[in-house]
Symmetry: C2
Subunit: 130 residues, 2 copies
């Protein structure tokens, strides 16, 4: 009771996000130019309802610094501060391609490992292991 851990599931989600969040943003930008607030919405719409803007803006800044995306400002149609849109550079497009491959190359083995033991109980042959 002194401390309430937030939620084990949430935390795992956070860790899973790592290494793939940048790819998601890249992929989202590949569809069309987007601005900061949009990403959180798009991710939530896609089923990732967590990502806070505190994760997104620094990441966008990093990617821009890395030359993967470029930005330009445009006034907000709904009245408010001007938006900063991002679009993909060629390097970003290449990185996106590489990243997709990495993702596939990663989820395959992991999925296999995670589902491997599910159906193990087939003791008819007897013996296990060994």
């Amino acid at each position: 009771m002194t401390k309430e851990p937030p939620a084990t599931g949430d935390q795992r989600r956070s860790q899973l996000l790592r290494g793939v969040l940048d790819l998601c943003l890249l992929s989202l930008i590949a569809e069309r130019p987007r601005y900061g607030f949009e990403f959180a919405e798009a991710l939530a719409a896609g089923g990732l309802e967590l990502v806070s803007d505190g994760s997104i803006y620094p990441l966008l800044a990093r990617m821009e610094r890395a030359g993967l995306i470029s930005s330009y400002r445009a006034p907000s149609p709904s009245g408010g501060a001007p938006r900063k849109y991002y679009r993909l550079t060629e390097a970003g497009d290449a990185e996106l391609g590489r990243g997709r491959a990495d993702w596939q190359a990663f989820t395959g083995p992991v999925g296999r490992i995670l589902t491997a033991a599910t159906t193990t109980p087939t003791p008819s042959t007897g013996e296990n292991t060994a």
Copy 2:
């Protein structure tokens, strides 16, 4: 640019590992009791050829402390230091189930986002960055 990053792909792999490596170990243990060195081999055999033992041992220690696994020692048949085998506890089994669900709930949306934009080649309007 003062510094040369080792390899972009490798680094992404590292980040992806987070949040799923513990699940992999759990799943591996679920099949049969295992000892430290075995994990790296098993992961490599499954297609994840990176994971160093420097990542595995601390993680095992954490999971044992969390009550997800328990350990016992047994002499090494191949001559050498005794091995420390780990087996799943009930809590670990439950966590594994939860983790598998989390993994599925995560890869689905991400995969969808990553493959969404495939068919949107740049409008030839082109222009540059400027």
